[in-house]
């Protein structure tokens, strides 16, 4: 997929664990793990907003576009 999730990088920068983030964002641990590993096909604006709010970052810091070709 051309869109890559950089959630693991941001989490490492902010020194926050997956459990802590899932508690603060209000998304299940399993789902957040899927998001981290890029095993999802879509993300809700509300989830993105909550993650950005918790990690104090921009959506662009989490999402990255890479040309497949």
């Amino acid at each position: 997929m051309a869109i890559i999730l950089r959630l693991d990088r941001m989490m490492a920068d902010r020194k926050i664990s997956l459990n802590e983030l899932s508690e603060k964002v209000g998304v299940a641990n399993v789902n957040l793990s899927k998001l981290k590993n890029g095993k999802v096909s879509a993300i809700r604006f509300s989830t993105l907003e909550a993650i950005c709010k918790t990690l104090n970052c921009q959506p662009g810091d989490i999402l990255e576009y890479k040309d497949d070709e």
Binding site: G26, V27, N31, L32, K34, L35, V40, S41, A42, I43, R44, T47
Partner: protein, 207 residues
Amino acid sequence: MEEKKEEVELTSEEKMKKKFGKYRKIMTVIEGFLMVVPIMVIVVAIIVGFAVGMTGTDEENVVDDGIVAESTEEEEELNWKTEILDVLDMKDDLENDEDYQKAPEVLKNLMVISTIIAAIAGYILAIIMVDSLAKIFGEVETKGTPFTEKNIKLLKRVHILSIVLWILQMAGIRENSIGLIFVLVISAMRSIFEYGYKLQKEADETI
């Protein structure tokens, strides 16, 4: 606010699960009833047949002087056809059907056989339908959604069986359009469920 909303959603989901659990139980009872009835009928028929055989002789074959007349081959053939169709409550249909009266002997036999198979298949289909509905409701009860892969497979099974039943009905004596309408309704339901499953998958993959 969000927590409250989530709580309300959870209870409504639980309510839905409970409701579909009840439906599943009703369907299971109906299924059991449908499966027991033919066994009961067969048992009663055997008992009655045995009792009749023990007490009296076959009146139709007894001639005035007491000698049992031999029935011809044609009569025998007609007998098994009419007897079975009488059990299935289709004897009048056979006598009134113009196509049947005009048809040659081979075609007549085929028509009767296909009618008998259609009647039995119809009953089996009814049991499978109720069974499938019970399973679909059970799936909603456990997973909280009817749009699952298992339900699509169940509907596919019902769809194929309904097509077979419709073809058999068309070939048989009793032609009716209910079979075709049933096939169309099931095929529409199948496509709705397939689309629902696609949307469910998308919703599940969205975080």
